[in-house]
Amino acid sequence: MKQREKKTELPWVEKYRPKSIRDMAKPVAKVNRQKIDLIDELIKFIKNFKKDSKEKAILLEGSPGIGKTSVVYAIANDLNMQVIETNASDTRTQRSLKSKLDEASKARDMMDFISKSKNKIILIDEIDGIYGVSDKGAIPTVLEIMNNSEFPIIIIANEYKRSLTPIYKKVKKFEVQPLSEEAVIKILEKILKKENIHDFKPKDLISIAQKNKGDLRASINDLQGLMQGGRSAESLRNIDELQRDTSEVIFSLIRSLFTEVKTLIDAKRLLDKSDVDYSLLYRWVNENLPKYINLNDELVDAFENISTADQIFGRIRKYQNWALLPYFFDLFGGGVSLAKKRSYTPKFVRTTFPEIISNIIGRDKLSLAKKIEDVYEISAIEATRTVIPFLRLLSSKSIKMKKEISDWLQLDSKEKQVLKK
């Protein structure tokens, strides 16, 4: 009884971590774009591993929460092996990494010889998290351990990182695919059964699975939040609140701002719900506005409102007067979406990132602009605005002048080309 109480305190993710490969949703991986059975490959790798074999490590790469770590633990459990794990939370420096892995990878300790109990698997979890740009010293350490290891090594990463290239060269890489919605739902149902919860709606499970896109860990977390948060699983609104902040949130937010919002309060609610940084959000609205509104008179209204919002935001920044913020929200949210009246919105609209035009001088003009900066004593930016167009015009009038200018500024052939255009 006591033990059972303890169990319920665990988060469901830990509580239902698979003990055996039979319990889990089978992860699928890709090698060179060909699907393979990840579990088979891993077992083959671990069983065939010898001290002098060429392949000493495997790299699993895939988005978070799809069972990369779990599959290693489950296999180890089934094969009666011990997992020695390092991850971003407990190994931060090169030294601690080395001391931990060195003893594990080289000598089996005395106890192992006597009991002949367990073989080991070395698991380096979240490698892209620990050894970022700041800690390059760790990569040689990992490579060294890989060379000397007496045990199979499995490395887990979330995404491709350039700083990890030396490791990529030495390992076999499996790209673990996200789980299918059906597989996620199956597992969620299993958990609910074990938890003795029967008054849930299948629709909720589907929407949880859809929202998390194959991220099983997040799905289980959402499920626990929903079921233990008073079990008010009636409406989908709860799930909306559980929504994680990703860039796709912006996409759907922009879309619903233009297609679903009917009143000012709708717009307000929509913006309140999202955690997106609003200084960025209104630029998104600006970028995508003409795709949803295509009549010129409605465009005028919409842009009038968003430009006033921009003005207000500028004043907020300048005078630090944050009391103006509500106007800003209303104008770029409701003000823009309600300007749309008769405009026709096509079914599929590609939401695009806001285009940022920064004060950066094009690479072709840079050296010329720098020379002009010295002679004219104006900034290189101004040079591209005023002087370069003038010099172009001047040098197009006569060949003599062209020569004089290039002698004067000591131009090379590339810079002459810029003036020719």
Partner: protein, 348 residues
């Protein structure tokens, strides 16, 4: 190098205060500063291209005398800071030593412009005989909210280094800066001084310019001598006798073809095409929103429109320009203007 410059605007650039065209009152005041060997922080303001920087430089050089090379520095606040400089600023950022409160142990970042470009200059002591160093910062308004960091520097290093801040938009300068500076408004050149100067240039270059053409040039260049001399040089390549016809031809040829294309698209009232063209222009020439407004306004004389529509056109541009003073994103403000113009021409 400047002596053999084929470009007249560089060739005839004033090198001392007394060579500067007109503006006697300002020159008098600055010469007083030089004779007394002291002056407060200065904030020069005035229209674009009116000669603020030239005046500041001539003044600083004369003030510092022989030791000006090591004690004078000019900075452009609008030039982006390179990656390496940014990295250095990252290294120099410090951890706050406070033990209590929300800032305890936090990393303090200083704007790379201040840290990389301003501080190394103003922290070093004066070299030579000069009473203090002089730092000229052009386009000061581009610093935006980081102007706040500047005011501390003006106080702490004020005795070692005086600053001459230059801006064309004084409304964007924060009050604490304004209260620490003496403001000098540089007016455009008056016609009398202007015509004397242009006549002097044309005499040296062996060309003739008649009186009506001189007036047109003054009107078109809005008192900007640089612009006027540029056009004078272009006209001189067509003929040595410059009259109003030659001048009009040259002025037309200097206009941006891309702006004309933009106007054509606006007349067709195709908003998304207009916005694409607008962005292409801004990317190529690094125009600020204000410059695009000006270019659009310049085109009004050639537009085949009725008087009332023209007034409406000007009205829209003025309104947009006013809004951009506070606005943060020039793209939004420009889109606003362009959408209005598209709608205006759709109706007629």
């Amino acid at each position: 190098m400047t002596i053999n410059s084929p470009v007249w605007s560089v060739k005839y650039k004033p090198k001392t205060l007394s060579e500067i065209c007109g503006r006697e009152q300002i020159k008098f005041q600055l010469k007083e500063y030089i004779s007394k060997k002291n002056f407060p922080h200065l904030l020069l303001t005035g229209y674009y291209g009116v000669g603020k920087t030239t005046i500041a430089k001539c003044f600083a050089k004369e003030f510092l005398g022989g030791s000006y090379e090591s004690n004078l520095k000019t900075l452009f606040a609008d030039v982006p800071i390179s990656k390496e400089e940014r990295k250095q600023a990252g290294i120099r950022s410090t951890f706050s030593t406070g033990m209590i409160g929300s800032r305890a142990g936090k990393r303090r970042y200083i704007h790379p412009f201040l840290d990389i470009k301003v501080k190394p200059f103003i922290q070093i002591r004066v070299l030579g005989e000069a009473p203090f160093k002089i730092l000229v910062v052009k386009n000061f308004e581009a610093l935006g909210q980081f102007q706040q960091g500047f005011r501390r520097l003006m106080e702490t290093y004020g005795s070692n280094c005086r600053m001459i801040l230059i801006t064309s938009k004084i409304s964007t300068i924060i009050d604490p800066i304004i209260s620490r500076c003496q403001i000098l408004f540089i007016p455009p050149v008056e016609f009398k001084d202007y015509s004397d100067f242009i006549k002097g240039v044309s005499k040296k270059e062996d060309i003739n310019i008649n009186e009506p053409a001189l007036k047109i040039l003054y009107k078109y260049s809005e008192g900007q001598l640089n612009k006027a001399i540029n056009i004078l040089q272009l006209s001189a390549m067509l003929s040595t006798n410059i009259n109003s016809e030659v001048l009009y031809e040259v002025i037309n040829s200097t206009k941006d073809k891309k702006i004309k294309e933009l106007l054509k698209l606006i007349l067709k009232s195709d908003f998304s095409a207009v916005r694409a063209q607008l962005r292409a222009i801004r990317r190529e020439f690094n125009y600020s929103a204000q410059e695009v407004y000006k270019k659009l306004l310049d085109e009004i004389f050639i537009l085949p429109l009725s008087k009332s529509i023209k007034i409406q056109y000007i009205n829209y541009i003025a309104e947009a320009d006013f809004k951009s003073i506070d606005g943060l994103d020039p793209d939004i403000q420009l889109s606003n203007l362009v959408s209005k113009l598209c709608f205006l021409f759709e109706k007629i």
